[in-house]
Symmetry: none
Subunit: 201 residues, 4 copies
Amino acid sequence: MVRVGRPSGPAEATAEVVLRAALTLLLEEGGAALTPQRLHQLTSVSRATIYRHWPTPTDVLAALIDVAPDPERPLTGDPVRDVHAEVDALCDRLHEKPVATFLQALVAMAATDPAAVELRQRYVDGLIAPFYRALNGADLPPTEVKDAVAAIVSPLLVDALLLDRPAARVRAHRVVDLHVRPSSARQEADPASSHGRPGRE
Amino acid sequence: MVRVGRPSGPAEATAEVVLRAALTLLLEEGGAALTPQRLHQLTSVSRATIYRHWPTPTDVLAALIDVAPDPERPLTGDPVRDVHAEVDALCDRLHEKPVATFLQALVAMAATDPAAVELRQRYVDGLIAPFYRALNGADLPPTEVKDAVAAIVSPLLVDALLLDRPAARVRAHRVVDLHVRPSSARQEADPASSHGRPGRE
Amino acid sequence: MVRVGRPSGPAEATAEVVLRAALTLLLEEGGAALTPQRLHQLTSVSRATIYRHWPTPTDVLAALIDVAPDPERPLTGDPVRDVHAEVDALCDRLHEKPVATFLQALVAMAATDPAAVELRQRYVDGLIAPFYRALNGADLPPTEVKDAVAAIVSPLLVDALLLDRPAARVRAHRVVDLHVRPSSARQEADPASSHGRPGRE
Amino acid sequence: MVRVGRPSGPAEATAEVVLRAALTLLLEEGGAALTPQRLHQLTSVSRATIYRHWPTPTDVLAALIDVAPDPERPLTGDPVRDVHAEVDALCDRLHEKPVATFLQALVAMAATDPAAVELRQRYVDGLIAPFYRALNGADLPPTEVKDAVAAIVSPLLVDALLLDRPAARVRAHRVVDLHVRPSSARQEADPASSHGRPGRE
DNA sequence: ATTTAACCGAGACGGTACGTCCCGTCTTTAC
DNA sequence: GTAAAGACGGGACGTACCGTCTCGGTTAAAT
């Protein structure tokens, strides 16, 4: 079938100006401010236009998430080292606000819009996935992998979500050491082995 | 100065009928439904009356929290056992909805109302406090206590808040065993020692 | 049952200011201008308030009609004279705009709102009724009464509605003389008998 | 200057399909439905195309009126007979809807669009003209001709426009007899002379 | 067969009004 | 003083249509 007529979707300029304003709004006033009304006021893009392309605030948030994917970090092959790297990366992202704010906004939206539930799911999965990837090389049974990831990541998320405080980076590193030692190494492990990393907290 | 006239505060009947409706609303439609409007519709208590006694939705939520305090569990003196008991208690409360819903509502409200931020803080502290209490008896350094509590509780909260799934009870018990062994016992610990507890998950 | 609380219906001030503005609008811009939006702009009464009390433009028009009822003219007992008086009265009312404008508005609204159809019916009946009342005394058979009223009134309405010109007063008086002579008198009638009336047209 | 390229104006197929839909819309939903939007929905002719050829709803209505002119009836030379024939013709046209609907639509549009005022004028003139033509042969003074036409036609229009009822055909015939007798014949007139016509009402 | 002007469909876009909903405050009345 | 009933201004919501516009692809006459 031959396509005729003007191409569909927002003109590039429109999409850019709206999403840029959306990011600003989100960071400065939180997810509840991502309304068509506020976006219109900030961008002077017509309210109707915004509804056309992003019918719900969830759609705006989804578009925001899509434009800033998390770049993959290269694996060294050493699981312990890789997991520590991921901890640092996640703490950095949580510290630089957008990720923590995205999470807060997703939780708040999920209370209203079922579509946001799924989005929240995918977003959290995206945050956790790198840890599973890093732990792939360690010879741990699946249960221990899951436990380790949960014990490492959850406190960071809780810090960002519930306690409004910077992610507890050094604690996370300690938990990594506790969980990710290969079982064979646990008795002989040198507890100071991970002290070379920069404790940025 | 002598007080004259009708005593202040809502008549008991009013307060009860409103808060009962508020709980129903909260559980069935989430924190965003806790509006004067909805409460009025459900209770046929006048909107003006509701505004008088609970000026903001946060006040309603705070009143709800106050009426259902968490009863303290008696301590046995055995930290390991007490922490396991607390894990079970928290999982039960998260499972029976109110607590998880309170948390979601508090997070959502905190995005809007600063007063809710403080309330959220206090509520989370109330959830965590029993674990610190239980670990009081264990001869662990403060850092390890904090790490342990975080590693135990955070995954449960994340399950309830972010992943909409029942709290991972057995995993939490495993994590307790991993963290709460008294340090002196870690080498000789029998990893099967906690298998007697009922795995209710 | 005891009535409690503030009495229902618009406060007097509100109703007056809105209806006054509605009349101005109607006369200056026609029935299509009787929208909540325009009324709000002119009165700075809130749009919501207007919707509360007059949910449709037809309701506004109905309220307008209710506040300005046509006062009854006294009957002399002489049908011919009374009908001539009614012709003058109707021409005056059509000339002074409100009635003609009401009619136009009612026709236009009736195209959209079924409620306006009934209102239009009642309004037209109200315009015609005085003629039937005046002709009551004449000893004419019912058919001739109807014919006479139609022949007298219709051209006036058509002038106002379709041709945007002042009602043809003198023609209407001629038609009265043609239709309302008592049949016994038609042969002997002095065609100049009605020349004493002031020809205001 | 030599014209080159595709000729201007709508392709025949486009014009026909749009006007056919416009007529349907007009009859079923009234003049207010004659919008570019509705025409587009019914015909799947692009909205832009419709704007190109009929910039306002009034233009659509004008085009509709142009495509269905009233065919002239032949005159017999007998004014009385001819006028009766015209009465029947007008009643038929009013009864078959389009004319009555056109009138209603024209009145409604005239409230908004000044261009429709002129159109309405022309349309009404077109309805009345045949009566003047038929009365041309009668030896009546101009004033009486005007009175007669008004008394005959106006009630029919009022029936269609204001009272939503079928045109009162037999009354119209009676009024013809009353007005159109040549003055010389009025004394000797046989009032039953017109009873031979079929009373279709 | 090419030009060339116009048609035509698809859709973006700003704008405006719609009718609804809830907010928070106020006034009126009854108890 | 408490409470109910309800008016009121305010503001956002989501929808609908308006009129204009920019794209592309198509069509039909004149060269």
